[in-house]
């Protein structure tokens, strides 16, 4: 019996953001936008969804008088990502049999 894939993570842009954040300590909004080639508006919405799910922490601050948004994955986010990857592997592993 397969576990359902986490609907929060099983979306292209949100998964891309979480995959970037799992590899780094923290990243600025501009970095995430550049690496995901997304629009600022769309990325903001998806970041908010990840934040609401408790998967990432978002800190808003000022850097040289410009607003800066810094994102960081939470422990809950790491756990969800690991479970998601493990579910994916079981889906794909079974598909290959």
């Amino acid at each position: 019996m397969f576990k359902d894939l986490d609907p929060i993570l099983h979306s292209q842009l949100r998964l891309a953001v979480i995959s970037l954040l799992i590899s780094v300590k923290e990243a600025e909004f501009t970095f995430l936008r550049e690496k995901t080639n997304s629009t600022a508006g769309n990325l903001s919405v998806q970041i908010q969804k990840l934040k609401d799910a408790g998967y990432i922490d978002v800190t808003k601050q000022f850097k040289d008088n410009y607003p800066q948004t810094v994102c960081k994955i939470t422990k809950q986010g790491i756990k969800a990502f690991e479970e998601y990857v493990s579910s994916l592997q079981s889906y794909l592993g079974n598909g290959r049999k």
Binding site: L5, H10, S11, Q12, L13, R14, L15, A16, S19, L20, I22, S23, V24, K25, E26, A27, E28, T30, F31, E34, K35, T36, N37, S38, N42, V45, Q46, K63, D64, V85, L88, Y91, L92, G95
Partner: protein, 222 residues
């Protein structure tokens, strides 16, 4: 990239791509390595020329290493401002190089105190025996510094999989061993060679890579 549902295989491919992108995200500017490589090599070569050509500058050339802390602070501030992502590796590397700086400061203090204690003994020996002591403390100062130079350079090279720095670190230790058996004049040349190969050349390579990455990024945004 949009907010859309994807297949399981696409998910796995996306995760792999993003992790790779994150890993290649940060490029060191190489400025610190270039500056310290040049400063240490210059100080050693000037000191060598002072001994070789029997002249003395009105100040100790090694004071330049203290002056170099000022541009280093500005380089660090600028690099931190430009950095849009912080990796776990960056954090460890910062601590390793900070620890190295502290070790160098402590080593200078230890060597100065030792030298102040040893000099009266050497002077008394010369007075009593009429010969200069065959043991000169300054002959063993360079190996100690080369020992320290090798450690953070080797770790950085190995951790960042950057071979020029890895080999540079090893070269520092090779020069350390050689300098134990050579005179102070040759030791200074060995220190200069180590600084050039461990920091200056890797720094130039890093700076070139940084420029290329920045140019690539600018073109991608056009």
């Amino acid at each position: 990239m949009e907010e859309k549902k994807i297949t399981e295989q696409e998910s796995l491919d996306l995760i792999t791509t993003m992790i790779k992108k994150a890993k290649n995200a940060y490029h060191d500017t190489g400025m610190s390595a270039i500056m310290w490589g040049a400063v240490v090599a210059l100080c050693s070569l000037v000191k060598y020329s002072e001994i070789q050509f029997r002249y003395r500058l009105p100040f100790d050339i090694y004071l330049l290493t203290i002056v170099a802390i000022i541009p280093q602070v500005f380089i660090s501030i600028r690099e931190n401002k430009e950095r849009t992502v912080k990796s776990y590796d960056d954090n460890y590397m910062d601590y390793i190089w900070l620890g190295f700086g502290i070790c160098i400061a402590l080593m200078i203090m230890i060597v100065t105190v030792m030298s102040n204690h040893w000099q009266p003994v050497a002077d008394e020996y010369s007075k009593l025996s009429g010969k200069t002591s065959s043991f000169q403390l300054y002959e063993f100062v360079s190996p100690l510094f080369l020992l320290l130079y090798g450690l953070p350079t080797f770790i950085t090279g190995a951790a960042c999989k950057f071979k020029p720095m890895l080999w540079g670190g090893i070269l520092c230790w090779v020069c350390c061993v050689i300098s134990v058996f050579t005179g102070a004049k040759i030791d200074l040349i060995l220190v200069a060679v180590s600084a050039v190969f461990a920091w200056l050349i890797p720094g130039i390579i890093l700076e070139k890579d940084y420029r290329a990455a920045k140019k690539g990024l600018e073109q991608a945004h056009v």
